[in-house]
C-alpha cells in the first residue's frame, strides 16, 4: 500500500450475530471482538462457522440491498461507524479471481473501483499504475484479464482493492482456488505488502501453515457461536491446535497421517498410445486457433496402483485425465483398454457407449456439482445401478452401503447442490463408485480430489482410495496436493510442455508440483 494516509481501521464487534435469510440457526452469535488499527488477524473456525459472513459484514456487503440477506444483531463498527461499502475504506479479496475481475483489460479493472468511488479521471490512472506496480503486475494496462494465470488474476484483484486505499483489508482464502505456483505468488505479494502497509488485516484461511508469517493474532470462532479463542498464534495453537485439527482445519503439526495398506499392483488396464491432444474449440470468430497441449503421450495405467498426474496448471493434466477416462477423443492416437477391460470392449475408450464406460471407468470431476444429474442424494446414487438394470433389493443395499461408507445417510433426501463442499466431494466419489459392477468401477479417474477439502474429508478420501487400490482398482488422479502424493501415490507422472514423463519415486516430494 505505501500510501501516506493509509492508517489502519479499528474494528469493533459486540454481541454481534448473523442469521442467513431462510435459515433457522445463526451462522454466528454473540461475537465480541476488537481489532486495533494495524493488527493482522487470522480468523479460524470449522467450515460453516460464518467466517466469510463476518468478512462480508465488515465490508458492508450484508443486508437488504446486497446479495447476502439475513438478520443482524448486536453491534459492528469500523472506525466507530456501521460498516458501509460506499466509502471505500475496506478492501475485500475473495477466493475465486474469476468471479472478482470485472473488466476485460487489466488497467480498466483496477480503475473500476475508483470510478465507483467517483475519483476524478486525472487521479484514476496514476493510482491504477501505482497499484499495479505495488503488486508487481508484469503486463501493461491494456493486457487482457482473460489471458492471465490464476495467480496473476488474483494479484490483479488485490491491485483493484489496493487502488481504493483500504484501511481495512479483508482476505477470504485468497489462495484457495490457485495452484501451488499461483498461491506462492499471492502469498509472497501479501508478505511484502504487509511489511509496508499500516492497514488492518483480517484473514480467513484453512491452510494455516501458509499464512502463519502474515499474522500476529489468531481468533477462533465457533459455528453458531462467538469467539472461543483469541491470542498470539503460538499460544492459540498450543491450546486449541488439536481441537481445530479435529474440526477440519489444517493446523501445522496436526496434519492427518493416514496409514494406507500397501499397493498390491497389477497388470495394465489402460494404455494411452501416441496421444496428441489440442485445446478445445474456442468460441467466437476471433478466437485463437487450437493449440496442441499434449504431444505424443504414451502411458499405461495399472490395476492396484495409484497413478498421479502432476504439473503446472494448463499443462494438460485434466485433458490427459479426461482422455484416460474415455470421456473425450484425442486429436491423434488412442486410449485403449488392456487385459480384462479389453474383454469388455476392444475398441478405444472414447468409442465406448456412455453406459458401458460408466460401468467400468468412474470419473470424479474437480467441481463435484458438474456430475450431479438428479435432485436428491439418494437418487444420485440409485441412478447408475438403476440404469444398469439391477434389482430393487440390490440397488437399495448398494446405495445404503455407499451412503453409510461416505457418511451421507442423514442427507439421503437433500438436494445434491445444497450440500457443503466436503459432502459434495464425498457424494461425487460415491456416484463414481455406484456405477461399477462390483461396488466400484475398474478404473477411477479423479481430478484434484482433495482440492479445498478440510482434514476430515481429506483423510476419509485417502482411506477410501487406498481401500480401492487394495481391491485392485486402478486409480488415476490429477493433483497438486503434496500430502496426497506423499501418502497415496505409486506412480507419478509429470505433465508439462506437452509431455507426460514418469518421475522417479525418490524425488517426488522435493520437486514443485
Amino acid at each position: 500500500m505505501a500510501v501516506p494516509n493509509a492508517r489502519g481501521a479499528r474494528v469493533e464487534l459486540s454481541g454481534w450475530g448473523w442469521k442467513h435469510a431462510g435459515r433457522a440457526a445463526h451462522a454466528l452469535r454473540g461475537v465480541d471482538l476488537v481489532v486495533e488499527p494495524g493488527e493482522r488477524v487470522l480468523l479460524l473456525g470449522a467450515s460453516g462457522a460464518g467466517k466469510s459472513t463476518l468478512l462480508h459484514a465488515l465490508a458492508g456487503l450484508t443486508g437488504p440491498d446486497s446479495a447476502i440477506g439475513g438478520d443482524q444483531e448486536g453491534m459492528l463498527r469500523v472506525d466507530g461507524e456501521p460498516a458501509s461499502r460506499g466509502r471505500g475504506g475496506v478492501g475485500l479479496v475473495a477466493q475465486d479471481p474469476e468471479a472478482q475481475l470485472v473488466m476485460a483489460r487489466a488497467g480498466d479493472d483496477v480503475a473500476f473501483g475508483l470510478e465507483n468511488l467517483g475519483v476524478a479521471r486525472g487521479e484514476i490512472w496514476p493510482r491504477v499504475e501505482r497499484a499495479l506496480a505495488e503488486v508487481g503486475f508484469p503486463y501493461g494496462l491494456r493486457h487482457s484479464t482473460g489471458a492471465l494465470s490464476g495467480g496473476e488474476k488474483q494479484r490483479l484483484v488485490i491491485a483493484g482493492a489496493l487502488a481504493m486505499r483500504p484501511r481495512l483489508l479483508l482476505l477470504d482464502e485468497p489462495t484457495a482456488n490457485l495452484d501451488p505456483v499461483g498461491a506462492a505468488l499471492v502469498r509472497d505479494l501479501l508478505a511484502r505488502l504487509l511489511v509496508e502497509s499500516e492497514a488492518t488485516l483480517v484473514l480467513v484461511e484453512h491452510r494455516v501453515a501458509d499464512v502463519m508469517d502474515l499474522v500476529d493474532r489468531v481468533v477462533v470462532v465457533e459455528p453458531g457461536g462467538g469467539v472461543i479463542a483469541d491470542g498470539a498464534p503460538a499460544k492459540v495453537f498450543a491450546e486449541h491446535g488439536r481441537s481445530l485439527a479435529e474440526q477440519g482445519v489444517w493446523v501445522p503439526g496436526e496434519e492427518p497421517a493416514p496409514n494406507p495398506s500397501p499397493a498390491p499392483g497389477g497388470a495394465p488396464v489402460l494404455a494411452a498410445e501416441g496421444v496428441i491432444a489440442r485445446t478445445p474449440f474456442q468460441l467466437g470468430v476471433r478466437a485463437a486457433p487450437a493449440r496442441t497441449v499434449l504431444e505424443d503421450v504414451d502411458l499405461t495405467v495399472s490395476a492396484g496402483t495409484v497413478t498421479a498426474l502432476t504439473g503446472p496448471n494448463g499443462a494438460g493434466k485434466s485433458t490427459l485425465l479426461t482422455l484416460l477416462a474415455g470421456l473425450s477423443k484425442p486429436h491423434r492416437g488412442r486410449v485403449v483398454p488392456c487385459g480384462p477391460l479389453a474383454e469388455v470392449d476392444r475398441r478405444p475408450l472414447a468409442r465406448w457407449p456412455a453406459r458401458r464406460l460408466a460401468r467400468h471407468v468412474g470419473t470424479v470431476f474437480q467441481h463435484a456439482e458438474d456430475q450431479f444429474v438428479t435432485a436428491e442424494v439418494r437418487d444420485e446414487l440409485r441412478f447408475a445401478p438403476l440404469r444398469a438394470g439391477l434389482g430393487e433389493a440390490e440397488i437399495e443395499s448398494r446405495v445404503g452401503e455407499l451412503m453409510e461408507r461416505l457418511r451421507l445417510t442423514h442427507l439421503a433426501h437433500v438436494h445434491p447442490y445444497t450440500l457443503s463442499g466436503g459432502e459434495k466431494r464425498r457424494l461425487s466419489v460415491a456416484t463414481a463408485l455406484s456405477s461399477g459392477p462390483a461396488h466400484a468401477p475398474d478404473v477411477l479417474a479423479l481430478d484434484e480430489p482433495t482440492f479445498g477439502q478440510d482434514t476430515r474429508t481429506w483423510a476419509e478420501l485417502v482411506e477410501l482410495l487406498a481401500d480401492l487400490r487394495t481391491q485392485g482398482r486402478a486409480i488415476t488422479m490429477a493433483t497438486h496436493d503434496r500430502l496426497l502424493l506423499r501418502n497415496l501415490t505409486d506412480v507419478r507422472v509429470r505433465v508439462a510442455d506437452g509431455r507426460a514423463v514418469p518421475v522417479a519415486a525418490g524425488r517426488a516430494d522435493e520437486e514443485d508440483v
Partner: protein, 213 residues
C-alpha cells in the same frame, strides 16, 4: 423483495397506471447489483449455449429450407432468456436485460446478424416483460410463464414473416407464426418455469424472491 408490498393493493386501472409510473422508476433504482449481474450472467450463459448451438443451426439450417415448419417448432429455445430472466430475478426490466445480454454474446462472438441481434434481443425481452408487468410482477406461475413465452415469440414471428419469408402467402406466414408462438409458449414458457423451479430447489436462487419456487 419490495416488489409485492403495498403497490398491488391499489386495484383498477388507476392503480395499474400509477404503478407503471412510479413503480418502474423506483424499481430501477432499487435493483441490487446481484439482480443486475445475475440477470446478465444468465443471459451470457444461455447466449454461449446458443452460439454453440447456432453453429449447428447454421449447418443444419439449409435442411429446414425444404420444410420450414420444422424450424418453427424448435424456435422456442431461442426465446428462453427473457422469460427465464424475468422468472428468476423478478424485477421489472430483468427479462429485457437477460435477453439483451444473451443477444450481445452472439454479436460479440460473431453472428451473421452482427449488432442487429441486440435489437432483436431487446424485443424478445420486452414482450415477456410486458406480460409480467400485466400481472404487476406478482404472478410467476406456469400460465404467466407460458403467456410470456408466447409473447416473446411475437417479435421473431413478425420479423421472420417480414424479413425472411417476405414473398410467402399470408396463410403460410400465419401458420409459421402460430407454430413459433406455440413452440415458444412450451419451450421458453413452460421450460423456463420448470427450469426456475429446479434452480430454486438447488438452492442457487437464495438471493432472489424466486428461491421459494
Amino acid at each position: 423483495m419490495g416488489i409485492d408490498t403495498d403497490l398491488g393493493r391499489t386495484g383498477g386501472l388507476r392503480g395499474f397506471l400509477g404503478r407503471i409510473k412510479d413503480g418502474i422508476l423506483a424499481e430501477f433504482k432499487a435493483w441490487r447489483t446481484v439482480d443486475i449481474v445475475v440477470a446478465a450472467v444468465i443471459g451470457a450463459a444461455v447466449g454461449v449455449v446458443f452460439w454453440l448451438w447456432g453453429v449447428v443451426w447454421t449447418i443444419t439450417g439449409p435442411l429446414f429450407v425444404l420444410f420450414p415448419p420444422a424450424q418453427a417448432i424448435l424456435y422456442g429455445v431461442w426465446l428462453l432468456p427473457g422469460v427465464l430472466g424475468g422468472l428468476i430475478i423478478r424485477r421489472s426490466g430483468a427479462a429485457v436485460l437477460t435477453s439483451i445480454t444473451a443477444a450481445s454474446v452472439s454479436a460479440l462472438l460473431g453472428s451473421q446478424w452482427g449488432i442487429t441481434v441486440v435489437l432483436e434481443g431487446a424485443m424478445q425481452g420486452l414482450l415477456p416483460e410486458l406480460v409480467f408487468l400485466l400481472f404487476l410482477y406478482r404472478r410467476w406461475g406456469m400460465g404467466v410463464a407460458a403467456l410470456a413465452g408466447a409473447a416473446a415469440a411475437i417479435s421473431p414471428a413478425i420479423r421472420d414473416a417480414v424479413v425472411y419469408y417476405a414473398t410467402w402467402p399470408l396463410s403460410h406466414q400465419l401458420v409459421y407464426g402460430v407454430l413459433v408462438l406455440i413452440s415458444s409458449a412450451l419451450i421458453a414458457g413452460v421450460g423456463g418455469r420448470l427450469l426456475t423451479t429446479a434452480l430454486a430447489r438447488s438452492g442457487a436462487l437464495a438471493p432472489f424472491p424466486s428461491a421459494k419456487g
